[in-house]
Amino acid sequence: MCLGFPAKIIKTDGSEALVDFLGVRTTVSVELIEGACPGDYIMVHAGVAITKMPEQEAEATLLVFEELERLAGEPLNG
């Protein structure tokens, strides 16, 4: 239950955001971070963004998730 995941904000109204995680779109709360904007990368935990992440780092982390998904042979976010 502790696996946070990095995601990219597609659109947001300031309290909720539609995000993309490995091609899957899901809605998360952005009420606990300041100034969430489309294009921002965030770390999501239990449906809530807990912090913003620098883009480069987030992309590197997403690559690791993709690799894990490939190794596991199933989607991690299913």
């Binding site: 239950m1 696996l3 935990h45 449906g47 912090t51 992440m53 982390t61």
Partner: protein, 313 residues
């Protein structure tokens, strides 16, 4: 992969594993006696309690639904106003703010059919407990996502007591970097406190989340599975939010006994390797767990089991 001189020991780092067995029984009882729908993180479903598990309760007719966020519980309660809902609020500082957010929303919306069964735990009191009990590690690897909320302050305080550690992320690369940094820092012979996960963890942490947690919860002494009660290590709802407290709403108390046979307590405090538990792999397996550490994918025994099986196949 690591040289013999380096040992990585697992600690009380899995929130499901440290949730007392009696909590499971309390949740099952609420569902069965009061006909309330339980909303829980999936990891909790198979965890054995003292008398039952959520899986068994489900077979007896309890409605147990898995969610990945407390906000989903909020949604479920909104969509079905006739039905009572109880969210099983477990987890460390990473999850507690999400619960606090759900409580805040439930309060604003005056939702009358949702309560929370809080058993949130705080990481720093557990670390202090390990230190007080002569846990002889050279350094701790502090949890990255918990630290995203708390910031570095708790670890700076430990450093003042001569306790070293590094904050790290969860990927293999992060952990290797953490171990490498610890080896280098230990060679220098000084106390250290390093943040190796600055992309996610800032010095002050998430101030909005910290404030929300303080507004909604207050600290209380709490029982940890296999460890016992630790002072100010848990969270209960503050009086203005009391009506959302399922412990009170359903007038239920937690059975403080430990579950028999399982030695998770020794594993959680780094005093025993999972493989040394007499039940490991024989009676206790992921599909038929005797203890919580064998259930959650993050549990030490489950990880040790997967790893040892991988080696022999």
């Amino acid at each position: 992969m690591l040289p013999d001189s380096v040992r990585v020991i697992s600690g009380p780092g899995c929130p499901v594993c440290v949730t007392p067995a009696g909590y499971i029984d309390a949740a099952a009882e609420i569902a069965l006696k009061n006909d309330a729908q339980l909303l829980t993180f999936g990891d909790l479903v198979k965890v054995p309690g003292i008398r039952t598990s959520l899986e068994k309760a489900r077979a007896e007719g309890a409605e147990v639904r898995t969610v990945i966020s407390p906000l989903e519980a909020l949604k479920a309660a909104r969509e079905n106003p006739e039905r009572k809902h109880v969210f099983l609020a477990v987890g460390f500082e990473t999850t507690a703010p999400a619960t606090a957010l759900a409580v805040r929303h439930a309060d604003e919306e005056k939702l009358a059919n949702l309560t929370f069964l809080p058993a949130h735990k705080l990481v720093p009191p557990a670390l202090e407990h390990l230190v007080r009990n002569n846990c002889k590690v050279d350094a701790f690897i502090y949890p990255g996502h918990v630290s995203a909320i708390t910031g570095m302050a708790p670890y700076r305080k430990l450093a003042e007591q001569d306790v070293s550690g590094v904050v790290a992320g969860f990927e293999a690369e992060d952990l290797i970097r953490a171990i490498f940094a610890i080896i280098q820092a230990c060679d220098r012979g000084e106390t250290f406190c390093l943040n190796l996960y600055p992309k996610v963890v800032s010095e002050e942490g998430n101030l909005i989340a910290q404030k929300l947690m303080k507004d909604v919860f207050e600290e209380e002494d709490a029982a940890w599975r296999g460890i016992g009660s630790l002072p100010a290590s848990g969270l209960r709802l503050r009086p203005p939010y009391e009506r959302f407290d399922a412990w009170k709403a359903y007038d239920i108390v937690m059975d403080a006994r430990e579950q028999e046979g399982c030695l998770c307590g020794l594993v959680l405090t780094g005093r025993m390797e999972p493989q040394d538990c007499p039940l490991f792999g024989k009676i206790c397996r992921p599909e038929n767990p005797s203890g919580a550490c064998m259930v959650s994918s993050e549990g030490s025994c489950a990880a040790a089991y997967r790893y040892s099986m991988g080696e022999t196949t």
